[in-house]
């Protein structure tokens, strides 16, 4: 079975600093997608960034970037210049692949940005 592991239940960072959230996954698929979702107190699931496994170049979206290590099955999220609005639960997720593309989520990392 495919699994996604986030080993940091909680993290804290000072405003304007950089923080990295870790994620590892396990899959036998060769082509798949990886995602980071943000869930603020409103509980809305917001896509932060996505990575296609067949692309070696790490994805970036403004202050958010990933470090994708396919061989190590690692997919970390770096948030630069952290802002108070970044405070949220962050879920790493993998597309299961195949015909259904259901998402398998990690247990989440609660990030608190301190003023």
């Amino acid at each position: 079975a495919q699994t996604v592991t986030q080993s940091q239940p909680e993290m804290s960072v000072q405003e304007a600093e950089t923080v990295t959230l870790s994620c590892t996954y396990d899959t036998s698929e060769n082509n798949y997608y990886l995602f980071w979702y943000k869930q603020p107190p409103s509980r809305q699931m917001i896509l932060v960034i996505r990575q296609e496994a067949y692309k070696q170049q790490n994805a970036t979206e403004n202050r958010f970037s990933v470090n994708f290590q396919k061989a190590a099955k690692s997919f970390s999220l770096k948030i630069s210049d952290s802002q108070l609005g970044d405070t949220a639960m962050y879920f790493c997720a993998q597309d299961y692949g195949g015909a259904t593309n259901k998402l398998i989520f990690g247990t989440g990392t609660l990030l608190a940005v301190q003023p």
């Binding site: 979702y37 809305q44 699931m45 917001i46 996505r50 879920f91 015909a99 259904t100 593309n101 259901k102």
Partner: protein, 114 residues
């Protein structure tokens, strides 16, 4: 841009009652997914539909059923509700032919079973 619509947003039921959750995907999206997120937990996949046919089934109790209609909206029917069914239920939609397999999530329906 239009987003995924879920109704109702909040629902309170008694044990053993029945609940129906509705999901209206983004226009032209052909795939719908249902996820359940218990308190303090990550979302768990329940079931998905593609072109009105069930495409996959996850850890969905037999007391639950779902379908996708001709207008692509979907309904999750939950019977004999239990306390443990209290959760946030997300619907997400996607376009199967889309290049990024991005699932767009609705705001969720918060179900409380008393």
């Amino acid at each position: 841009a239009a987003g995924v619509i879920q109704s109702p947003r909040h629902l309170i039921k008694e044990k053993r009652e029945t609940a129906t959750l509705k999901c209206y995907p983004i226009p032209r999206h052909d795939t719908v997914y249902w996820y359940q997120q218990g308190p303090g937990q990550d979302p768990q996949f329940l079931i998905s539909f593609y072109e009105k046919m069930q495409s996959d089934k996850g850890s969905i109790p037999d007391r639950f059923s779902a379908q996708q209609f001709s207008d692509y909206h979907s309904e999750l029917n939950m019977s004999s509700l239990e306390l443990g069914d209290s959760a946030l239920y997300f619907c997400a939609s996607s376009l199967a032919s889309g290049s990024y397999n991005e699932q767009f999530f609705g705001p969720g329906t918060r179900l409380t079973v008393l």
